[in-house]
Symmetry: C2
Subunit: 358 residues, 2 copies
């Protein structure tokens, strides 16, 4: 039997609920494929702040680094919103990404036929949307130095951040994107602001230079403002998108909302080697925390990505994806994706249904 | 009779067509209110590059600065896309904004009842959308230093830009936004990324500090990634949005696409004093240039903004706005906003119709 160590980071809000459900699904799907998991649950985010005063305790970082893959729930909440910057749950997440060196964030945005009505886009625009956003995750303006708030020569406060990309940082994310596009429909759109930003000029130059190594992939370029429009105008034009950290943050959230079912969308963050980080793209939803209302499918599908991208266990991953579709086909819906004629269930019951379908 | 000097910068692509139509409308609306205009047409963008080798000739900058207001068409085209950065039409626009010190870019995004079907959003989501995006236009990462592409200690290329805001730059744009919200529905949403960026932390702090001076305005804050989602999920929640240069670039394009009629949307860029810059938010559309297919309404409505915000001639502005609505009510449509049952017209004919309606 193959054994894997999985670090579980439930985090805050609905995090613990969705993680507990996803853990059971992961366990059963693995069992059916002859895999065994050792789960290690660690404090993270606001939960860790309350417990030990920092959002990413040393032990949590170490456990994550020593695991085979990390499954994360969600972080943050009103309670810690007024904390100083370094004592905010979000900082824990940024440091965890950095510690794990997971530079490539894969965010699928898919409109399932079962859920096409959940989109605020017209049916004919939303239906069939199936794209993958590849976002650079540990560079750019999120981490660039110098940064901070200082006083200038007029005695005035000045806030500074640095958008910075070295050639090798662009190359490695571009390669992940070309490989991803190659396994999909062979179209890659690189998004930048090369008409204004120097960092984007270098970005475009490096991505363009790599294209000759991927003759089977059709590369195009788009400015970020235009991309924000095109995602609404005609989202089906996109297959794979690659972009920097901040543009990826914005565009992937926009794309996920186009699907209308943000409670359904998983993500994978991967490095050159070492454990990947898998998490739903939704937040911690403190308003519905502890009420058994959360949609666990994004976390369950993140567990599927963990199997596929993190452990190379494609068959077990496929089992989970199929089970999720089966539960949807049977009409089970949590509140966020409910429409009349379907069966409204809570977080746990949705988990039970996926387990049954496995 | 009041006389005003208007600098006309037709620019590239469809720019000259829409400017020529908008000029006639401006002239007639002014005439009806007892205003006279001296128009000075100057080369700008790609047209200036072809003529004198730079996108913003000294004479054009001077004419703009000495005018009472500047009306701009559009810039850019395939022809100049491969130029070095400082020889691109876009750089002319950035320098013009800087020269005119127009730090406040007002971009309305309104869904007209006549055109609600043009949106890719569902009717019930799109209808009634009416927001104003106030974008900081001459600061932030667009202009911050250091910037450029350099070689690091490993002999590798590195691209750098600097997001930087001083307190007074935030304060002055925030004031414009509070004033704008006050004249609208009294709601202001400030968009930033204060959970990650130091420049955003200062932004939020300064905007928050000003709120006490505008007790009649309800201030809220939103992260930029969430804003990109909320614009699609429930755009009616927004009245006035204020944000930095790069986020404003992305979100205002997203918001304009939500209306489905980007060929309809004007913009105004204003400084503390001195001439404002008025331009449609659409681009130069080289693919349809010279074919009399362009929608001139965005430029005509920019002329209305010029009258209202640039010259304080609200009555003349209102005449233009009413005439545009009248032409739409009569069913006249250019190709971009055409739907069956209406009358398809070209750029010039649409201009004639607006003139008739004046
Ligand atoms: C919580 C925040 C720091 C984070 C980010 O900006 O990366 C989130 O928005 C995301 O996209 O995962
Ligand atoms: C053309 C480009 C430099 C410009 C910008 O980024 O400001 C445009 O996108 C705009 O929004 O007016």
């Amino acid at each position: 039997k193959k054994r894997y160590n999985i670090a579980l980071l439930p985090g805050d809000g609905i995090g613990p609920e969705v993680i507990s459900v996803a853990k059971n699904v992961l366990q059963k799907a693995g069992f059916l494929q002859g895999l065994e998991f050792d789960f290690q649950e660690m404090p993270f985010g606001g939960a860790a702040l309350d417990l030990v005063g920092v959002p990413l305790p040393e032990e949590t970082s170490t456990a994550a680094k020593q695991s085979d893959a990390v499954l994360l729930g969600a972080i943050g909440g009103y309670k810690w919103d007024k904390n100083e910057k370094h004592l905010r749950p979000e900082m824990g997440l940024l440091h965890l990404r950095r510690d794990l060196k997971v530079f490539a964030n894969l965010r699928p945005a898919t409109v399932l036929p079962q859920l096409v009505d959940a989109s605020t886009l017209k049916k004919e625009v939303a239906e069939g949307v199936d794209m993958m956003i590849v976002r650079e995750l540990i560079g750019g303006i999120y981490f660039g130095e110098p940064r901070g708030i200082t006083i200038n020569e007029n005695g005035e406060e000045v806030g500074v951040n640095t958008e910075i990309y070295a050639a090798h940082e662009i190359d490695r994310i571009a390669r992940v994107a070309f490989e991803t596009a190659r396994k999909r429909r062979g179209k890659l759109c690189s998004v930048d602001k090369a008409n204004v930003l120097d960092a984007s000029i270098l970005w475009r130059k490096r991505v363009t230079a790599l294209a000759s190594e991927y003759p089977d992939v059709e590369l195009s370029h788009m400015y970020v403002d235009n991309a924000a429009m095109q995602l609404i105008r005609y989202p089906k034009q996109f297959d794979t998108i690659v972009t920097n950290n901040i543009f990826g943050d914005i565009l992937s959230d926009e794309a996920s909302m186009i699907t209308g079912s943000i409670g359904m969308l998983p993500s994978a963050s991967l490095g050159e080697s070492g454990p990947g980080l898998f998490e739903p793209i939704h937040g911690s939803a403190p308003d519905i925390a502890g009420q058994d209302k959360a949609n666990p499918l994004a976390t369950i599908l993140s567990a599927a990505m963990l199997l596929k991208y993190g452990l190379g266990e494609e068959k077990a991953a496929k089992r989970i994806e199929d089970a999720v579709l089966d539960a949807l086909n049977k009409g089970f819906r949590t509140g966020d994706i409910y429409s009349p004629g379907n069966k409204l269930v809570g977080c746990k019951e949705m988990g039970e249904e996926v387990l049954k379908s496995l």
